[in-house]
């Protein structure tokens, strides 16, 4: 099982990197917001797999905090960081 956990964790990490391409490329500000969504789920899955593989229960708590933070940061992001200048460009 150990091998599977590590392989899957690595695979998910690669997924995250591939998804980052979209986040960096945009084209709209909304596309960059998707980073929050992508990181929220994938990083939690990676942490949970590593917690099981390395037998470190504390990593599960890290995943829990990540899950909580993902929601808060995303909401702050959408409400505050989405500037009007970007909006004008997006609407075109």
């Amino acid at each position: 099982m150990q091998t599977l956990y590590f392989t899957l964790a690595l695979f998910l990490l690669l997924n995250l990197v591939a998804g980052m391409w979209r986040v960096l490329r945009g084209p709209t500000a909304a596309d960059r917001m998707l980073a929050a969504q992508l990181f929220g789920t994938t990083s939690v899955a990676v942490l949970l797999l590593l917690a099981q593989a390395t037998d470190k229960a504390a990593l599960r708590d890290v995943a829990l905090v990540f899950a909580l933070l993902a929601a808060v940061t995303a909401i702050a992001f959408v409400r505050r960081a989405w500037s009007d200048r970007e909006t004008k460009r997006d609407a075109e």
């Binding site: 998910l12 998707l34 789920t41 959408v78 997006d90």
Partner: protein, 98 residues
């Protein structure tokens, strides 16, 4: 061991959903459709990974924690998807039409 086999199947299935979510993110034409892919596929992927890990958990409390984390991510994912979509609509980002 049967539970090991079931866990393996669940974990691999979860990985496939994550892959599909990322592919959707890269291939879909606008932010709304990308949100569909990311929200639904990744949440199902995480659900399957959590289910696979819960079968291997050494205590009931650990399995409960995994479930709690999944529910939290589910709630966060759904709220964030709605918030991004609603804000994108308000800011006039157009829908992709065929």
């Amino acid at each position: 061991m049967p539970s090991d086999l079931l866990s393996t199947v669940l974990l691999i299935a979860g990985g496939i959903f994550f892959l599909a979510g990322t592919l959707g993110l890269l291939r879909f034409p606008d932010v709304y459709t990308r949100l569909h892919a990311l929200t639904k596929a990744d949440n199902v992927g995480l659900g399957l990974v959590v289910a696979g890990l819960a079968l291997q958990a050494e205590s009931l409390a650990t399995a409960g924690k995994l479930l709690l984390i999944w529910l939290l991510v589910l709630l966060a994912g759904a709220s964030v998807a709605h918030l991004v979509a609603a804000t994108a609509r308000q800011r006039g980002i157009k829908l992709w039409k065929q």
